[in-house]
Symmetry: C2
Subunit: 346 residues, 2 copies
């Protein structure tokens, strides 16, 4: 299936130096993909030259004169930089010239701008940010990861619908299981909002597994894990911190003395194979869900390899018909009697 | 310093089979400790005989005829089992016969019973559960870990005071740094309660570092990390799940074929040394803070080695004068003008 994606070439810590070569590599791997490189022409052309490459029928340049800074306020980016590479990329999705866009830029600005330009799907209160995480038995999708700090039960319910739609469009699973992240202490099973969200999910006809605990994320108990953005963001960043600490410990132990260094050389192929398996770059690319267009957020520090996974995620969502699936399922549930319609359609 | 601790011998997945041998080992390692074994006499005496040991001046038995089940409702345990080993252990703290008690029993029942029997310190709304976690540079204390699902800003503030008091009593740090767990997205820096808690902490005279993110826990950015029990519980359990997944991956990689198995044998001492360093058993023993007595919760699945760390934690808190420190600091802040007194003393 022929698709076109727009790439905000200026976003991220490394800008065109990463995004342009990554786009060129992607074109080789996906012969039915077309790419629009968005950004400052001189900077993009310099990277094309450095890669001994040039524009062509499958890769074209769309100029944008401004760049959103990584620490810039979303409000300033939204109001003041109407010709930023980020905004122009999103505009290309709005006009239909591209079916998705990918940016490694500032998350807050990307969220605010894509919400302003694209608007949310009818029936969705607020967009959510979904990531994919490895598990003992495969991988799982977790949302929200920070787009929404305080959530209502209805919003958590919508995250469940959107997460399930995402998985059914990019994986071969018609009825993905959905878990609601909660705590497992005996007396105190979650706060009021989570309890209400569980009731909505239970009555929804989704494949609702029930409450899951923190341990269930990496066990892979469900295909989708729903939580509010505060919990999701902290959970994800705690995981990053723990993984870094364990990697540091392992390196220190292998560097302790001559004997451990020799053991390290012998074990190197195994350690490298382990590292490849947990390489977070393979999970790069968070999806904004609930917008009238596909927007993928790459990690700001992504390298060429990692950025390629974000492009692939965009392509998978386009080909899987994710937008249509979300719209249909949200519309279906908006008609569902147990949901107060004002909450869902406001 | 001579101390006496009460051990709920019947609690946990393994009961006296773990708690009694662990108590005996502890007495050897701490010549100024005395232990009261609480539970069903026959069961405890059988374990003493199996260990070729007997009661003596430093280890005595206090009978209790009932046992709180691991899945029992806290309300049932509290109202229906007045002679449970858990309750009798807490009573010994109340009467002053012991300065602390340790239980591997059901968390909800332990919290409800110790709160009912011991009461909270004047000025503390609700007790919190604090755990110690390893970091890249040492360790950190995190609270609350599940005792309080919905917290007010004042409660988070009290957790900061109690956490700092705990650290200053068991570590050689007079002014431990306190971080408030929050998210780092650009636009959306935390929910309202966390923002208000940050203001209270900033004006408190505590060594308040400011907001910390999930990654900061394992970096060891601060000595204390404060969060509500919902976030804390999920964070801790997600960490457990991730560590288990990584351990499984590593084992699988070393078992892949004959060559990797040989590499595994050669790397074994390094891997074992790594495992010792991250062994969660060394961090066993969560502290209930804010009660008029010291209560330590051991993990239900703790083995003899792990349970010993919970006993040591109790002893450290008694010797460090933790109760007095918490009372003094809470009283100090209750007089502090910026805190609405009704919130603090209700």
């Amino acid at each position: 299936m022929d698709i076109t994606v727009a790439i905000d070439c200026m976003g991220g810590d490394h800008g065109p130096h990463v995004t342009v070569p990554s786009a060129l590599d992607y074109l080789h791997s996906d012969p039915e993909a077309n790419i629009i490189l968005v950004g400052i022409p001189d900077a993009i052309e310099a990277e094309l030259r450095a890669a001994n490459s040039e524009l062509g029928p499958r890769i074209r340049l769309h100029p944008a004169s401004e760049v959103v800074g990584m620490d810039e306020s979303p409000a300033v980016a939204l109001r003041g930089k109407k010709d930023s590479s980020m905004r122009v990329s999103i505009n290309l999705v709005k006009t239909g010239e591209a079916q998705a866009c990918i940016s490694a830029g500032n998350t807050g600005a990307l969220l605010a701008t894509s919400r302003f330009v694209l608007k949310t799907i009818s029936g969705v209160d607020r967009p959510a940010l979904a990531v994919i995480l490895p598990t003992s038995i495969g991988h799982t999708y977790v949302l929200d990861l920070g787009a929404n700090v305080d959530c209502t039960a209805e919003q958590l319910f919508q995250f469940g619908i959107m997460g399930a739609s995402l998985v059914s469009s990019v994986e071969s699973k018609a009825y993905p299981s959905v878990g609601l992240l909660n705590i497992g202490e005996e007396e105190i099973k979650g706060n009021e909002i989570v309890k209400q969200a569980a009731e909505l999910l239970r009555d929804s006809g989704l494949n609702f597994y029930g409450n899951v605990e923190g341990t269930d994320i990496y066990k892979g108990t469900t295909d989708v894990v729903v939580c509010d953005g505060f919990v999701g963001n902290i959970t994800l960043k705690t995981s990053e911190g723990l993984a870094q600490m364990l990697a540091t410990y392992l390196r220190e132990e292998f560097n302790r003395n001559l004997l451990t260094k020799i053991a390290g050389v012998i074990a190197m192929p195994v350690i490298n194979s382990f590292k490849r398996r947990v390489d977070h770059r393979r999970y790069n690319g968070a999806s904004f869900l609930g917008l009238r267009g596909i927007v993928i957020k790459s990690h700001g520090s992504a390298d060429k390899y990692a950025f390629g996974f974000a492009i692939k995620r965009a392509a998978d969502e386009v080909r899987g018909g994710m937008l249509r699936r979300i719209s249909e399922r949200v519309a279906e549930f908006s008609r569902h009697p147990q949901l107060p319609s004002k909450e869902v359609t406001r």
